[in-house]
């Protein structure tokens, strides 16, 4: 850019800050502005219609994906502009793909594709094994060359972190290095984040909001209920 300065008047801050201090070094949140808080207020409310839930959760997802992409490397690139001037800019480096954790993660695909046109998207289905009470891989389908790509792992809610960690384990088995995975998430619980980041300290986590904690049923509090359910079924 020709000139870079910071914004003049800071936007109104959110009153309800993240419930985790300090953040693990691999965790990044969106700027906690009043506007973002207002978006969350809409999708959290149980009285919000499905149409509004879709629209406003999409807005947050787009912001999360944009933030996630900022952690990808760029290289210097010089172009000629239509006015005949040369411009020293940057070019995107490296191939990416999305991987959504079914079913709720799929809801983030539309937002991803709005930002990264025709990006490849792999899928993972992980469910709790009723015998062992541990997350178990049921299904996965990835692009063949996933090992050479940066992976944006999509799951809206990080509660205990069980299925996210299982998904990362599967990706690593497929040859994706840990530091090439970016986990993109709408709402995280502090305990889930802590477990996750302790196990995978190299993996960057982009989360929109860190909530108070979990209830006895392992739902995030205050949370927004079951994301997949609200997005697809209600």
């Amino acid at each position: 850019m020709a000139t870079v300065v910071s914004p003049v008047a800071p936007p109104q801050p959110a009153t309800n800050q993240s419930h985790m201090h300090p953040l693990p070094p691999s965790v990044f949140t969106l700027p906690q502005t009043a506007q973002l808080e207002a978006l969350y207020t809409i999708i959290r409310s149980k009285d919000t219609s499905r149409g509004d839930f879709l629209f406003y959760s999409d807005r947050i997802i787009r912001l999360l994906v944009e933030e996630g992409l900022n952690h990808l490397p760029v290289v210097k690139r010089v172009v000629e502009t239509p006015t005949g001037a040369t411009y020293e800019g940057v070019g995107f480096e490296g191939k990416i793909c999305g991987v959504s954790i079914l079913r709720a993660g799929e809801a983030m695909e539309a937002g991803l594709r709005e930002v990264c046109r025709s990006v490849r998207i792999g899928k993972i289905l992980i469910q709790r094994d009723e015998e062992t009470a541990l997350p178990k891989l049921f299904y996965s389908k990835f692009p063949q060359d996933i090992a050479s790509r940066y992976v944006l792992l999509l799951d809206p809610m990080l509660a205990t972190g069980g299925s996210a960690m299982k998904a990362v384990e599967v990706l690593i088995e497929h040859g994706v290095p840990e530091d090439r995975i970016i986990f993109i998430n709408l709402i995280a619980s502090p305990e889930g984040l802590r477990t996750f980041c302790t196990k995978y300290p190299q993996l960057k986590v982009i989360t929109g909001w860190i909530d108070l904690g979990l209830n006895e049923k392992a739902y995030i509090i205050p949370g927004l209920g079951d994301f997949g359910e609200r997005r697809y079924c209600e």
Binding site: M1, A14, T15, N16, E80, T83
Partner: protein, 522 residues
């Protein structure tokens, strides 16, 4: 010469079916007529430098006031924008008793008291001072003022006509030129008879009774005496010379105005040096710009958009992505208030909600349209207006012209505009001429400067933005990037089959993005 005159229209009945032979150019009343766009009406400091020119035309019923007004509009020819304001619109709201009388043809519509003079004057004053006005609509079928109003804005010349147009001192103060249309009583009665019989199916006795009871006394007592206030008495027919004199006067007045102010007008290259770089050198910190955080992705998007090798498909995709980011960023500057909700797991969340009464977008066409998809991805349910501002290439001075104004209802109505937040969209701020005019239009409507958020991809630091900033310090300008300079250039518009067309002088940003509108739309 009875068959030559236009039927008088200041009477409580209206004919709606136009005859085929009448379908020639007939300037409509209460409509802003535009011929070639309106040049700036404000100075470099952003303040209005001239009022609209107001002509008041009075005269008896059937004397030919409307005819004179239309002749003036026609004779003026290429004038920026005119509105003919009719006194008929300002009949008072009637009580039930008055209504009963009106339907029995026993209500005196010719008395000055039947006209809402204060409202007439306040609407005219608003229009004269270049504000919008929402004038009342009077229904002649129900004899009542309707709930709805008609929005008027942007006339450089206003012609107010009606039998009582020179009656009220408050109105008279607003006129720059006062005309009285003179006509013999017998001719006026003859026209009235002819019209009422032919078009309203009334019998001669009834017409004469009404004439003697209301029309004639009103004319003698109020209308005729008001001619002493007139600057010029115009004959109702065979008045070519008079019309010519009047038009010469109006043109001279308008020209004086524009000569007087031309030097001060906000035409960017008048304060730009011919070499291309612009005085004065200003620091970006002084411009009070709100600049999108320069992340890697943003730099990458800009590199793609700036490259002339970028395909149209990619250009559109990345413009849409960038406008979405810009809009999300801009929305931070709206006010938010606390709001507590209950989540589906029965927990409460003390959050926030947008706390504004009205929000809307207004895009400056054509290139402001490139921000509309991003706008819609973020605000899907708010009104979206548009303004068309083009630079005047015909006489080469490149002054901006207002060609089209289509604003959301929440801006049209002044009491709403005062509480509205407006996102003004344009692809870039170069000379800032269009931005300047657009902001002035919103301020004219009563929108607060602090409630205007100008959203743009690129600002030229050395362009007109410094003048814009000085004139409108309260407006927030959110931009994705800042370029250093503006460069003079020629834009070739030759297409196949029409070669050798002269190019058009333009100011381009360097390094810039090229013509964003062309790259996005063509």
């Amino acid at each position: 010469m009875l068959d030559e005159v236009t039927p008088p229209t200041d009477e409580p009945t209206r004919i709606a079916t136009p005859k085929l032979e009448n379908l020639t150019f007939q300037p409509k009343k209460n409509t802003v007529l535009v011929s070639h766009g309106r040049p700036p009406w404000y100075g470099e400091d952003g303040h209005r430098i001239s009022d609209a020119f107001v002509v008041g035309i009075a005269g008896g019923s059937g004397s030919g006031k409307t005819h004179v007004a239309r002749q003036i509009v026609r004779a003026l020819g290429s004038i920026p924008s005119v509105v003919i304001l009719s006194q008929d619109s300002f009949y008072k709201h009637h009580t039930d008793e008055e209504l009963a009388l009106a339907h029995a043809s026993a209500f005196d519509f010719d008395h000055p008291d039947s006209i809402d003079m204060p409202m007439f004057a306040s609407c005219l004053a608003d229009l004269k001072s270049c504000q919008q006005s929402n004038i009342p609509i009077y229904s002649f079928t129900t004899h009542q003022r309707l709930e709805e109003t008609q929005y008027l804005y942007g006339a450089a010349i206003i012609i107010a006509e009606g039998i009582m147009a020179l009656q009220d001192p408050g109105l008279r103060e607003l006129y720059d030129l006062k005309l009285f249309v003179q006509c013999d009583s017998d001719l006026m009665l003859a026209r009235r008879l002819k019209r009422d019989v032919a078009e309203r199916g009334r019998d001669v006795d009834g017409i004469l009774e009404q004439y003697l009871r209301y029309v004639k006394p009103a004319y003698d007592n109020y209308v005729l005496p008001s001619q002493r206030h007139a600057d010029i008495i115009v004959p109702g027919s065979n008045n070519t010379v008079a019309i010519d004199l009047i038009c010469t006067h109006i043109r001279r007045k308008l020209l004086e105005q524009s000569h007087h102010f031309r030097q001060k007008m906000a035409i960017p290259h008048l304060y730009a040096s011919p070499s291309g770089t612009v005085i004065p050198e200003c620091k970006v910190e002084d411009l009070d710009l709100t600049i999108l955080p320069q992340t890697r992705q943003l730099q990458g998007i800009f590199t793609i958009l700036r490259s002339q090798a970028t395909s149209r498909q990619d250009f559109i995709f990345f413009v849409d992505r960038l406008s979405t980011l810009l809009m999300e960023y801009s929305l931070q500057y709206l006010p938010y208030a606390p709001r507590t909700v209950t989540t589906p797991v029965d927990a409460t969340f003390a959050g926030k909600a947008l706390s504004v009464k009205y929000v809307c977008g207004v895009s400056i066409l054509r290139s402001g349209g490139a921000l509309e998809r991003g706008f819609r991805r973020v605000l899907n349910d708010v009104p979206m207006g548009s303004l068309l501002v083009q630079s005047n290439t015909s006489d080469g001075d490149g002054e901006p012209l207002m060609l089209h104004v289509m604003l959301p209802v929440c801006v049209r109505k002044r009491h709403m505009a005062e509480e509205a937040w407006v996102f003004l969209l344009d692809a870039q701020i170069g000379t800032a001429a269009a931005a300047f005019m657009a902001i002035r239009i919103l301020l004219d409507h009563g929108v607060k400067a602090e409630h205007i958020i100008f959203v743009t991809f690129l600002v030229a630091r050395g362009g007109g933005v410094s003048v814009l900033r000085r004139a409108f310090p309260g407006v927030k300008i959110v931009t994705a990037g800042v370029d250093d300079i503006m460069q003079e250039g020629w834009l070739n518009h030759s297409r196949e089959g029409e070669e050798n067309l002269p190019g058009r002088q333009v100011w381009a940003m360097v390094p810039g993005l090229g013509q964003i509108g062309d790259r996005y739309y063509l």
